[in-house]
C-alpha cells in the first residue's frame, strides 16, 4: 500500500467554529457600542482600533513569528506620528524665507562631515597606526567634533525657535508621510537590531525600552522641529475632513482607508507566513540550534523580521497621528502605545494574524469602555465609603480611578501568560504524523 506524506494530504476542512464565534461576539459588541454611543463616536473608536491593529500586526510578527520581544512600540509609533506631521502640514513661510534653512543645511553638512571623519579615523590602522592609538584618536576626535556640531546646531535651532517658531512642514500628500514614517521606524529598528539581536532576547527588550524613551524625549524637547509641548494641529487627512462631509461620513471614509491597509498587510503577511521564508522564521524561533545547523543565517533573518515589524509600527503610528489630527509628543505613553498593543497581541494570539486583529479590536473596545466604567465604580466606592464609614474621599479620585486601569492591564498580561499563553486564537501549527 502506498503511504502518502502527511503534509501533502489536504487537511479535512472543518468549519472554523472558534473564529466564527469570536468574531460574531465582536460584531455584537461593536453594534452594541453603536447603539449606545452613536455613530460618530463609534466610528472614531473603530478607526483607532484599526490603527492599533496595524501596530499589533507589527508586534505579532516580531513576537509571534520570531520570538523577539519589543518593549518600545511607543517609540516607533511616535516616529511614525512625527513623520506624518512633518510631511503633511503646510509650509512655514517665515522659516523658508529667511536664511535659516541654509544655516540648518550647513549644520547638517557639518554633521555628515564629522561622522565621515570619525569613521575615517577608525580605519587609521590600515595606514600603520597602532590600534590603541587609532582608538584613542577616534574617540578624542569624536568627542571634539560632537561638541562642535552640537554647539552649531544649538545656535541654529535657537534662532529658528525665536524667529520662525518651528520649521513647519513640507505640505506633501499625507501618504508620503506615512511611508516615510515606516521607513524611519524601520531605520531605527535596524540600528537597534544590529546591536542586540545576536545577544540574549532580554537585551532587545531593554534596548527598545530605552530607545522609545529617547525618541519621546527628543520629539518633546526639539521645539524647533515639532513645537514640543505646544503640539501641532490640525494635521490634514488623506480623505475629506469632517468640516466638508460631516463627522460620521469622514470617519467612515478614513476607516475604509485603514481597512484597505489592514487587508493588504494581512494578505502579504499570510503569503509570507506560508512561504519558505515564513517557515524559516518559525524554525528559527522554535529551535535556533537546528535552524543554524541547516545553514540558516539566524541573525540576518531576525534582523529582517524585526525591521519589518518596526516598519508596520511606524505606518500604524502615522495613521493614528493623522487621524487624531494632532501631534502631541507628550501624548505618547508606554501604557497606551506599548502595553496596550502587547495585550492585544498576547490575548488575540501571537503568530496568528486573524487573532491579532481580533485582539486589537476587542481590547481597544474594552479599553475605551473601561474609562466610564472605572469612574462609575470609583464613584460607587466613594459613595459607599462616605455612607458607611464617614470617609472623606480625596479630591483627585477621577485620575486615581483611571490609574486602576493600569492595574487591570498588568493583571491581564500576567493572567494570559499563565492560563492562555497561546491567546484566544492560537497559532495553527501543522503536525506531521
Amino acid at each position: 500500500m502506498e503511504t502518502k506524506r502527511a503534509d501533502t494530504v489536504a487537511a479535512p476542512s472543518r468549519f472554523p467554529l472558534r473564529e466564527a464565534g469570536l468574531f460574531v461576539a465582536l460584531l455584537v459588541a461593536v453594534l452594541g457600542v453603536y447603539a449606545v454611543m452613536g455613530g460618530a463616536y463609534s466610528t472614531r473608536m473603530l478607526v483607532e482600533a484599526a490603527c492599533y491593529a496595524i501596530l499589533a500586526l507589527g508586534l505579532t510578527i516580531q513576537w509571534g513569528y520570531a520570538g523577539q520581544f519589543n518593549a518600545g512600540v511607543m517609540g516607533f509609533v511616535a516616529l511614525g506620528g512625527f513623520s506624518a506631521m512633518f510631511f503633511s502640514i503646510p509650509v512655514n513661510e517665515a522659516f523658508w524665507d529667511s536664511e535659516l534653512p541654509g544655516e540648518l543645511g550647513l549644520v547638517l553638512l557639518y554633521m555628515v562631515a564629522a561622522v565621515l571623519m570619525v569613521l575615517g579615523a577608525t580605519r587609521l590602522d590600515r595606514l600603520g597606526v597602532p590600534r590603541k592609538l587609532r582608538t584613542l584618536i577616534a574617540v578624542v576626535l569624536g568627542v571634539v567634533l560632537y561638541l562642535v556640531v552640537i554647539n552649531a546646531l544649538r545656535g541654529v535651532t535657537d534662532q529658528i525657535e525665536s524667529r520662525a517658531g518651528f520649521i513647519g512642514g513640507l505640505g506633501l500628500p499625507v501618504g508620503v508621510g506615512w511611508i516615510v514614517g515606516g521607513a524611519l521606524a524601520g531605520g531605527v529598528g535596524f540600528f537597534i537590531g544590529r546591536v542586540c539581536l545576536g545577544l540574549r532576547s532580554d537585551y532587545l527588550a531593554i534596548a527598545t525600552l530605552g530607545i522609545a524613551e529617547i525618541i519621546k524625549a527628543f520629539l518633546k524637547n526639539s521645539d524647533w522641529l515639532t513645537r514640543g509641548t505646544a503640539t501641532v494641529s490640525p494635521l490634514p487627512w488623506p480623505v475629506p475632513g469632517p468640516e466638508a462631509v460631516g463627522f460620521t461620513l469622514a470617519r467612515a471614509m478614513y476607516l475604509s482607508v485603514t481597512a484597505v491597509m489592514i487587508a493588504l498587510i494581512f494578505f502579504l503577511l499570510s503569503r509570507a507566513y506560508h512561504a519558505p521564508w515564513g517557515r524559516m522564521i518559525r524554525a528559527i524561533r522554535d529551535n535556533e540550534l537546528s535552524a543554524a545547523a541547516m545553514g540558516k543565517d539566524i541573525n540576518r533573518r531576525r534582523l529582517e523580521i524585526f525591521v519589518l515589524g518596526c516598519i508596520l509600527m511606524g505606518i500604524g503610528g502615522a495613521a493614528l497621528a493623522s487621524f487624531n489630527s494632532m501631534f502631541d509628543p507628550q501624548g505618547y505613553l508606554p501604557l497606551n502605545h506599548t502595553f496596550l498593543v502587547l495585550v492585544m497581541v498576547i490575548l488575540g494570539g501571537p503568530g496568528n494574524n486573524l487573532g491579532t486583529i481580533f485582539g486589537a479590536v476587542a481590547v481597544y473596545i474594552i479599553w475605551i469602555m473601561s474609562e466610564p466604567l472605572a469612574l462609575f465604580l470609583m464613584e460607587l466606592a466613594v459613595a459607599f465609603g462616605e455612607g458607611a464609614f464617614g470617609w472623606e474621599a480625596p479630591t483627585n479620585m477621577d485620575s486615581r480611578a483611571l490609574q486602576a486601569r493600569v492595574f487591570v492591564i498588568g493583571l491581564l498580561i500576567t493572567l494570559v501568560l499563565r492560563f492562555a499563553p497561546k491567546g484566544l486564537l492560537p497559532e495553527k501549527v501543522k503536525h506531521v504524523a
Binding site: 554647539n151 530605552g210 486615581r400
Partner: protein
C-alpha cells in the same frame, strides 16, 4: 577655586548620589538575572513600593525618629524592607513560579515582569495619587555647607543629610552583601546556583530556598534604594520608569551576575550621567585669558542637555553591547 567647588557640588557629589542609587538597584537586578536568568523589569517599581511603604509608615508614626535623633523614614526603613521583601517573594510565588514551572523561555518571564510592573504602578498610584510628596513628614532636612579653607573661595561645598545617609547605607549594604555571599553557607549556595543550577540542585542545594532568599535580598535592596532616592528628592509614583534603563545599563556594564561589577557599573553610569550634563565651560573660566577666543566663546560645553539625560545610559548600553557584551568584569549570562 569657585569653579572647582561648583564642579565638586555638581559632579562629585551628584555623581556619587546617583551612582550609589544605581549601584544598589543594579545589585538586585544582577542577582535576579544570575539566579533566575531573566531581566526583572518590575525592579524599579519594587523600589517605588519600598519608598511608598516608608511614606505610609512615616505618616503613621511621624515621631518615630525623634527618639533616635534621625529622620523617621530611616528608623522605619527596616520595616519597609521587610514588607518589600515579602512582596517580592509573594510576587514570585504568584506570577513567576508558575511560569517557571511551565518551563517557558526567559523572555516570557520578562513580559510577565512587565505585567507586574503595571500592576504595582497602578496600585501605588491608586493609593498615593499621581503627585509627589516628601518623605520628611515631621523632620527637617539638614543641609551642611562646608566652606573650603582657601583664599577667595566664596561658594561652600553643599551636602545634605540624606546624601550622607545614602553613602553610609550603600557602603554597609555592599560590604554586608559581600560577607554574605563569600562567608555564609546560603551565600555560597547562591553563587553555586548562579554558576550552574542543575549541578547545584544535584549537590543537594534546595533551589526553592535560594530563589526565595534572592527575592528577599533583592526586595530589601530595592526598598533601600527607593527610600534613599525619595529622601534625596521627593517621592513620586513614576520614579521607577526613569530608573529602569540606567539600572539595567549598570548591571550589564558590570557583567551580569557580578554583584561587585554591578556596583562598579552603577557608579560608571551615575558619573557618566552627571559628567555628560555638566557644562565644561565653567571649568575653563579661570583660564579665559590664556585660551583662544573661539574656545571661551563657546557658551555651553555640556555634552547633552539635562532633558536628554536618558540618552547617556542608553549610549553606554549600546557601547558595551557592541564592544564587550559580557561586561567589563566578564559576566556569566549573555
Amino acid at each position: 577655586m569657585n569653579e572647582l567647588v561648583f564642579f565638586i557640588n555638581n559632579v562629585v557629589i551628584a555623581g556619587s548620589v546617583t551612582g550609589s542609587i544605581y549601584a544598589i538597584g543594579a545589585v538586585g537586578v544582577t542577582l535576579i538575572f544570575s539566579i533566575m536568568r531573566f531581566a526583572h523589569f518590575a525592579h524599579g517599581d519594587m523600589m517605588t513600593f519600598g519608598a511608598f511603604m516608608v511614606l505610609l509608615l512615616a505618616s503613621a508614626f511621624p515621631g518615630a525618629g525623634a527618639a533616635f535623633g534621625v529622620p523617621a523614614a530611616l528608623v522605619l526603613l527596616p520595616v519597609a524592607m521587610a514588607l518589600t521583601a515579602l512582596l517580592a517573594v509573594g510576587i514570585d510565588r504568584a506570577f513567576y513560579k508558575p511560569l517557571r514551572a511551565h518551563g517557558v523561555k526567559p523572555i516570557v518571564l520578562v513580559i510577565g515582569s512587565l505585567g507586574v510592573t503595571l500592576m504595582l504602578q497602578g496600585l501605588i498610584r491608586l493609593f498615593s495619587g499621581t503627585g509627589g510628596s516628601s518623605l520628611y513628614v515631621d523632620d527637617r532636612k539638614e543641609i551642611f555647607r562646608l566652606a573650603l579653607p582657601f583664599e577667595g573661595v566664596r561658594a561652600p561645598v553643599v551636602i545634605t543629610e540624606p546624601q550622607l545617609w545614602l553613602f553610609g547605607i550603600t557602603l554597609v549594604a555592599v560590604v554586608g552583601l559581600h560577607l554574605f555571599l563569600t562567608r555564609s553557607r546560603l551565600g555560597k549556595a547562591m553563587r553555586a546556583m548562579s554558576d550552574n543550577p542543575d549541578l547545584a540542585q544535584a549537590s543537594g542545594i534546595n533551589t526553592n530556598t535560594i530563589v526565595a532568599v534572592t527575592w528577599v535580598i533583592a526586595g530589601g535592596l530595592a526598598a533601600i534604594a527607593g527610600t534613599l532616592l525619595s529622601l534625596d528628592v521627593t517621592f513620586k509614583p513614576d520614579l521607577s520608569f526613569f530608573l529602569l534603563l540606567p539600572i539595567f545599563a549598570a548591571a550589564i556594564v558590570g557583567g551580569v551576575g557580578h554583584p561587585f561589577g554591578a556596583v562598579a557599573g552603577g557608579f560608571v553610569v551615575g558619573f557618566a550621567e552627571t559628567l555628560a550634563v555638566f557644562n565644561w565651560s565653567v571649568l575653563l573660566r579661570p583660564f579665559r585669558d590664556s585660551l583662544p577666543e573661539w574656545l571661551t566663546q563657546a557658551g555651553n560645553l555640556a555634552f547633552v542637555g539635562t532633558e536628554y539625560k536618558i540618552v547617556v545610559p542608553f549610549f553606554i548600553l549600546v557601547v558595551i553591547l557592541v564592544w564587550r557584551p559580557t561586561g567589563i568584569f566578564k559576566g556569566k549570562v549573555i
